[in-house]
Symmetry: C2
Subunit: 439 residues, 2 copies
């Protein structure tokens, strides 16, 4: 069998286009109900996708006057979806900056058990300015400090997941022994940021460890991914950039005693589909026409940390200086895009509205499949983070039109062959460390 | 219609009897699956019960060698049950000592939206010694300090729930206004324990505030309940004690500007059912015979903070002195029980094994209904916290045998008449504070 690509459905209330909720195809009231998400999850599972993913932030996101992105806490929602699905992986975002490792280890272990081994964790360090203000702080901790905490955090979490050896729960009615306490160990962690005795109060997860996902793109972020992540989300506008990122991250793995296939790199793409290319472009224009420029300018200003309110919408992007704070990679991506394609502020807003910096591609199902195949076979991706412009329509279209095309080309599974999220991504189940030490 | 009683199903893996998992009626492997809980939830809903409840602790609970109580994080599990049920309330325990208010406000708001207004929060301050050790501490904070934090915590959480006024999400496609930001307010809380700017990133919960439940029994705990709680769980062994507790808590409400019917008092009961009284007692004996005495002695020693390992099982409880630390009310309850009924250590262990200090009552469905009716009509309870000795069997029996008897007596609903948890308990939906201020 040829190498298979992996597909993750990145869900977001009404879709990834900023104006999705205004489009006639979406029903933004229904998008606040569990039923909406159940339908999306089942559609993705019908398409045999590897996983679902929910982003998260712990503050109002963007300007809620114009967008609909703020909603349910992802672990809560994914648990509700665990019961409504059977195969698909469930990846929730959670911050290492504003959580405690015991809680997160427990929640992901719980979700992993309840879903029969389908939990994944998108590890984020919370780059937003506002998040700190909801957690007893006046400002977000510095970038490097956030990653230091994230490093100790993941070490503690892994120790907690391993604090019950695999066979600890013997459940022997006759002898009255529920768990073999010789196989359950306190972790006695004492470090810079955390002091955690353990053990966890949930048996070892079905997958050993839930799948670890990461999307950092700074130097430190990429090193973190190379050390810990098993799947990487990334925003890449061009094949060349995507290929460079792919090679960069893969090359880092050896340093951490890992092989390149132990990490799956999944660039984002927002596919705007039409029966013809013209229809797809028309759909894109339709969505762009619904953008509120005031909101777009504000978003762009935030991204670039530079107030653009005074500049003409149809003029060029002014000199915004060099990166100061926020997300270095998004800053570079946006200024690069403006320069390369000589875009006006309005055009730039439209390009970002589609996928907040992720690649937007309007075309026929065959054209979309061509793009995915090209990136995949030419070594810029192990799969993709699919970001439908509208929901549920954009996901249904992808599943009904693009997935069969990928299957015809022998690039994507036609049935699930594994029962866990790790299984879908072809990743091994980690052994308990305790056993490794004993060996 | 006569005054109606309320019923909450307190779920626990294999049941509330310590030895439930060893009984031939339980399947402790299945009890670690979502399917088990879905079945329990649907059984409780078939019985028209007001709510389900899951306890929680953030450390291994008891000695896992002999018990099966440690498992899933309750909010995670209840979210999974939200999709599998339609009417029943979903009450999760969460600690104010080891959490941050923004996270909990968000999670309960999420569950409330996803379940259509069925979320409740059992507010605990985490009395366990071990929990602190998993959260960067060498010891649990002092009792009064825990309640001080709990007080500020709930104030912050309520402000966050109210940070979106009810009509804030206008979702107007035509004008492009998703939310009326004039109706969304930062909370700018700065206090002793927390600094939280807000607003929350989830719209106001369906119920305004998820139902607030509490089970404190110290003086401070009861004052906290009188000020904030809408339902109270409590362990009471005798009618007299139950009546005294009921009167005590109800009498406190006026001081906080509340009326007695704004709080529902729900003593726990573990009903061991049989077709005849003899059959019920046989069943109780069967369960007690499965207790591991070593475990019972350890549990009792912990409860009394006094090592009982050296004493003969069939001798009397030695002098354990006066209460030092842990749960004052459980200490009093256990020493009172031993003295009143002149119990040996083994007998005491058996009495506690049934419900960890909650009342255990073995009898026929009619006898159980008589007990409930007596406590209810004579003013010792507004309803009950039903703690089935084994699961699922003990819950199925209660629903099939006791509930119809209560319905025949006109004491319990035959159909749900409300769609929210507050509705089931006959409690009002709180107005947003912001509006109150403006009025
Ligand atoms: C597809 C994708 C999804 C992301 N989701 C989140 C998220 O849900 N929450 C969050 O705080 N950051 C999220 N991020 C941001 C990254 O975690 C990371 O903070 C950002 O790329 C900056 O990288 P750095 O932290 O290494 O500087 C996401 C990034 C990508 C590419
Ligand atoms: C039915 C019931 C359920 C309880 N559930 C929990 C629980 O899940 N987690 C917890 O830490 N404490 C739980 N408690 C303990 C109480 O929250 C409280 O800590 C205890 O009654 C001691 O009261 P005090 O804190 O006022 O001293 C429960 C108590 C009762 C009666």
């Amino acid at each position: 069998m040829t190498r298979q690509l992996h597909l993750n459905a990145f869900l977001m209330q009404n879709g990834h286009h900023e104006a999705a909720w205004r489009h006639p195809d979406t029903d933004p009231k229904r998008a606040t109900t569990l039923q909406h998400y159940v339908e999306l999850a089942r559609t993705a599972e019908r398409g045999k996708l590897d996983s679902l993913f929910l982003a998260d932030g712990v503050a109002l996101w963007g300007n809620v006057r114009y967008n609909s992105h703020n909603l349910f806490e992802p672990l809560t929602l994914l648990s509700a979806l665990a019961g409504a699905t059977e195969h698909i992986g469930l990846i929730a975002t959670a911050s290492t900056t504003y959580n405690e490792p015991y809680h997160l280890a427990r929640k992901f272990a719980s979700l992993d058990h309840l879903s029969g081994g389908r939990a994944g964790w998108n590890i984020v360090t919370s780059a937003g300015k506002d998040e700190a203000l909801n957690f007893n702080r006046d400002a977000r901790p510095a970038h490097e400090l956030r990653y230091e905490r994230a490093t100790e955090f993941i070490e503690v979490v892994k120790k907690l997941w391993d604090s019950w050896e695999d066979d600890a729960a013997v459940i022997d009615k006759a002898s009255g022994v529920y768990a073999d306490t010789d196989l359950i160990h306190p972790i006695d962690h004492v470090g810079e940021h955390f002091q955690v005795r353990g053990p966890l109060n949930v048996p070892r997860p079905v997958q050993g460890h839930p799948l670890l996902v990461q999307a950092g793109s700074s130097e430190t972020g990429k090193e973190y991914a190379a050390r810990y992540a098993e799947a990487v989300f990334t925003a890449q506008q061009t094949f060349e950039e995507g290929k460079a990122f792919y090679d960069d991250v893969k090359a880092r793995l050896g340093r951490h005693g890992r092989t390149p296939d132990e990490i799956k790199i999944l660039p984002g793409i927002s596919p705007i589909l039409g029966r013809t290319e013209a229809e797809a472009r028309e759909r894109e224009a339709e969505l762009n026409a619904l953008i509120t420029p005031e909101y777009g300018v504000r978003q762009l200003s935030n991204l670039l940390d530079h107030d653009l309110a005074g500049y003409p919408l149809d003029g060029p992007l002014p000199d915004v200086g060099t990166f100061t704070e926020g997300q270095q990679s998004r800053f570079d991506l946006v200024t690069g895009l403006a320069r390369r394609e000589n875009l006006t502020i309005r055009q730039l807003i439209e390009r970002l509205a589609g996928g907040r910096g992720h690649r937007v591609f309007a075309g026929t199902p065959v054209q979309v499949a061509d793009q995915l195949e090209h990136w995949f076979t030419a070594g810029a991706a192990d799969g993709f983070n699919i970001m439908p412009p509208t929901l549920p329509g954009g996901l249904t279209d992808f599943v009904d039109l693009v997935v069969p095309e990928l299957q015809r080309r022998g690039l994507f599974r036609t049935e699930y062959s594994a029962s866990t999220l790790r299984g879908h991504y072809g990743l091994a189940r980690p052994a308990t460390r305790v056993k490794e030490h004993a060996a």
